[in-house]
Symmetry: D2
């Protein structure tokens, strides 16, 4: 595993739990974690249950005893590491976003395609796909339960920037984060919409905004985000992204990604409406799925709250009895399971790097639209380089 | 209309709106309101749209131009007025509870039976029956959608007595109110359970409690409830009633009526569980009904929130388009409509005085059980006289 | 009252109930209803409790015994009737939208300004303002409880067009309805946003879409909407409107109005987020208001569900005790009350025709933006004529 | 760990995750799992990450290299194993219920008291205490936020017995399970009420019922529950337990435990009402806590939904950022953490065996009350032997 921040902790749970919960077709050994600060990474490696730590990812990627490289560094470094790992014949799990630019994402996707031809697998970590309720949402659409998709309404709302005293973290600086609310949480909306509808987003019209443009500098350096100076600095990414997309089969989808939705902590919500029904999900109640069935008898129609904890629901049978809920981290366990299974089975897991690139292209198109006064912008147009 | 408190206002809305919303088979004229205080009743009569006011209910009951007598006085006076009115050939709508004692309720039921034989109708005002969601609940059970009823869980929770400064109102004095939480709001639970299940409650085990036993006396007299003196007085009714009942077909039903459920304002909740499904209702969200259908496909089962505002739902087609909600008072409009229709059609409306007596007998059995250390007590045993 | 469709029924409840519930400073007499079809209007007038009916609105507007003219016809006819009524010295209540064009709305606003100078009042019927929870939402913002408004998220979602068999009603024809989802329900979002934030919407970027463009013609004529022919016709208004607005003080507001949100019946939702808190409302649960208070102690923060039925809440003390809910129609009662009080007090009630014009200008700007590939469009620019 | 059913899996997650998430004061090694079937226990041990397996718990309890014995066998065997382990100087974690009889529980509590004097710790596994929302509920009551507790309303509702085809599992046979819904899930209600209020339950009145008394025998034997024969057998435990308790400081608490609440999967709900506020919890939404604060300003009171995922909430800071939810199994991680910390610190963790005995005494009193026609029964009376 390259990197060891918050995502490192989550991925570690995934690798640790997957073989203990599911019957995996091969063993999983948590070999080595890589980080710049030798002491810090050694501490995290020991704490999270990895056998070793290291400071040079190139050395690790070159090791013969490593089969899978899991990348949880900030987006700007993904391309270099992932391409090197794939070329070294390692299966790669790369945390989202795939990259900070379309160009990088294209190069990674090309590398993944070449690797796949050699039996090497690549997966980008849009982990929410693997929450049981989200997989169920996708399955129910695939079964035709919403019929023709006519509308999508999606939002990802957090509030951690409402406080003006919140310092200028690396996620608020374009050179480190690539993008703001759009790239960080809007990316989830795009991936989830593509995943559950099975449709591409072909054009967008969008607006970006930075509500608080200056923030206090962080007093002490730590990792990538450390800023030694005091005073104030410029927020160079968006706080809020509002955009509308056109799906391949014609439906409109509205999107809102914001870190200024006071009181909303992690409110990824999506509702897909079709001529046969509708499905709605809220990440803050991630064990539930709302389903409206237009074919239900007159008089008893309504949104059904499915508690997605039944043995028949995706991934659930390996866990607990009905009614015993899962949490955020379980998506990472399912991701680890699915990757191991794909590696052993010799199949490409989803979401592929091509999926990650598709998300990146939509993000890029939103940025281009925002620069063009929100004019509708084709996702397929050549990206800015 | 005899009486003119809070219930007088609600009944007045019923009479005023019913002919303007529904196509009634006969005209409704709001003739006269009766109260002890001539000025007060004249004011209310004018305000609520009644043609006249009066102070002697006997005079009014004797008038030839009166067809329906609507009784909204405290429970202790119901029997005398209702029996006189029925004997005078007036159709009677009597607010719940039917009476403060089983003895009174029996006399009223006898009078209603005699009256019915002469084409005179009697209705006791368990108005919640006529909220669309409650009628729908009953209809869905009658259609078999919950199957065999195996459990009922019902509660009526309010919090207006939590404040110890709340004065000793007439509802807290046994001589005026007859009973406390049990008789006032527990009565609704009993009637609703009988109504929706279609089953009698045959035995009970119950506990009554008075959480705050002494309260400040009210400083100034007003109507029946006025207490001139200052100082403190004894609460002589129950604040909380918790009881379990056995339904005719064997299911257990749990009941809780309380005025000490902090934060709950008017939370009448009932859930009926059967071998085919379940239905749940909450009066604070009275336009909604929760329905669990065990025959729904595996994987999409759950409680469906039916927004009971569709034209196909009971009473709704006369009101607004789907999604436009009704409120508390609409039950009174439906009650007025149903009574007028029954009178014209020559049929006995529900809930009958016999239904009101049945409720009274259950209340009485709960009191007897509470006095017997909560031992199970048959409702059918001769009542205390 | 000029017109007698669904809105006629709702306004009639308002006029009938207001004087019976509130202590109005003057009497209200329901004088006359005007409609094209003499029989139909006579029937409705009698049913709803109006003294007379008539077929020529000009005659009625000229009558000396008429003080208030209430206009509930389709939007295209509002300007002519309202201006005539104001010029005849009648106070005017005009159902929303104020008009089908900015031009008409401007003429009406001018007429209202001239009338106001003569003591004649005008009110446009954005009735939702007068639901207790919405007025409370506005009041809490005015008190500073959300602080600086940083985001608004609003949607009005219905599903009555999901069924492709739904015929081509007048609301789907531009010549009658003026606009589709945008003008009909999007107008409510615009008014409510302006009302609760106290800010204008200064610019917009929007997209309109017609999901089902051809619908069966209605077989039989009735009122304005009758279409005798058979076959299919073109839907000439939008089904879905998605737009983003910029508020006067800088915040972004996202809006979505749709008749294709499967399972959503009347889901007007609005959430206002600020640096001190947030407030959220859902019309399908119109007795509730969600409030997030950033000043609450750490550890117990969250959205509070306020059941807006306390005596201290707007309009509520005239109705029922705490916990006894109101419904859709109560907004019309409050509107009638407020208009009568304003007329007697000699003050201009809100929302004024100028408010109605402001809404119209935003709607127009959305249409212009949609025609310009969703480019941001100033509301203040001269409107299309 | 002695035993390896469903609870074995859950406890294993606890032991595996605790040292990787929290900074524990000592190392945790997952040594050995004990089961009757050598192959089955070897399989589970390997799968769950234990170093070894064994078939004789006495051997394991005697091993010098074992510090903690975790007992997850059915309740009837708890006493023998736990007492032996404590006497061998092992710290003991014993899954709930502590025992199947008061007598056993008393012996265990005596053994734990003796062990404590020697520095050996004992903990009974009422794991729900350690869900962040439940610990927060307790903390908020301890801080005085509900004031004087005046009412408790608790229920644990499941529906896995609604299907009459559900076979006669060991949980439905008194000789194996000790009790039915009462002992299995009612025990949680009792422990949670004691825990959050800090009060004992001193007397009870209760009713037990078996809704479906005959069930098909299981065709094939497996573990303790195997029944080889075919045909039908008698359900010898209760399906439903409804009881009322009197808390030490006088409040009434109502309880309902049922496996026949159609559509409810794991609905442990508890609401504690006091003169300063109320708190409510629902296990199916275990990341949320409802809080009503009577000291909030008039007009904005209501139940606040606290999303218990903030760093300041109990146990949360070791996990994920705000808004990222936990699930059922996290209680087991917290339990493992707290036990290790207590062992190292030399303090007795809660819930103690004395707490487990107290629960057992309440269960016993409910059974005695049920046998005495639901008469109120003192918990403190000498138990049936």
């Amino acid at each position: 595993m390259i990197g060891h921040g918050f995502m490192g902790a989550a991925h570690s749970v995934g690798w640790r739990q997957a073989p203990r919960v599911f019957d995996l077709p091969d063993d999983v050994e948590m070999a080595v974690v890589v980080g710049r600060d030798a002491d810090a990474v050694a501490r995290d490696a020991a704490h999270w249950g990895w056998a070793e730590s290291a400071t040079d990812w190139r050395d690790v990627v070159a090791r013969d005893d490593i089969d899978i490289v899991d990348i949880v560094t900030p987006g700007g470094s993904h391309a270099e590491i992932a391409i090197a790992a794939l070329e070294a014949g390692k299966h790669v799990l790369c945390e989202k976003p795939l990259a900070n630019s379309v160009e990088d994402a294209e190069a990674m996707t090309d590398a993944a395609a070449r690797a796949s031809a050699r039996g090497v697998r690549a997966l980008v970590g849009f982990t929410y796909r693997r929450l049981p309720a989200v997989t169920l949402l996708r399955d129910l659409i695939a079964e035709g339960r919403v019929g023709r998709v006519q509308q999508v309404r999606a939002a990802y709302r957090q509030d951690w920037l409402v406080d003006p005293a919140m310092p200028l973290a690396w996620r608020l600086q374009k050179e480190h984060a690539g993008s703001g609310a759009l790239g960080d949480i809007g990316a989830h909306l795009i991936d989830m919409t593509r995943f559950v509808t099975g449709q591409s987003i072909d054009a967008v019209s969008g607006t970006l905004d930075t509500i608080i443009a200056r923030r206090p500098l962080q007093g002490s350096g730590s990792g990538l985000s450390g800023v030694a100076a005091e005073g104030f600095g410029e927020v160079t990414v968006d706080d809020v992204a509002i955009f509308t997309g056109r799906l391949a089969e014609g439906a409109l989808a509205s999107f809102e990604a914001t870190r200024f939705a006071t009181g909303r902590k992690n409110a990824l919500t999506i509702e897909v409406s079709g001529d046969a029904g509708a499905l709605a999900f809220d990440l803050e109640r991630l064990n539930e799925l709302q389903y409206f069935d237009r074919s239900a008898p007159e008089g008893v129609q309504g949104f059904t709250t499915i508690l997605v904890t039944e043995p028949s629901h995706p991934y659930v049978s390996a866990w607990w009895p009905a009614g015993h809920t899962l949490g955020y981290e379980h998506g990472f366990v399912h991701q680890a399971k699915d990757l191991v299974e794909a590696v052993v089975a010799g199949t490409d897991p989803h979401p592929s790097f091509a999926d990650g690139l598709a998300v990146q292209r939509v993000l890029d198109a939103v940025e281009r639209s925002a620069e063009r006064d929100s004019a509708w912008t084709s996702v397929g147009e050549p990206a800015r380089h």
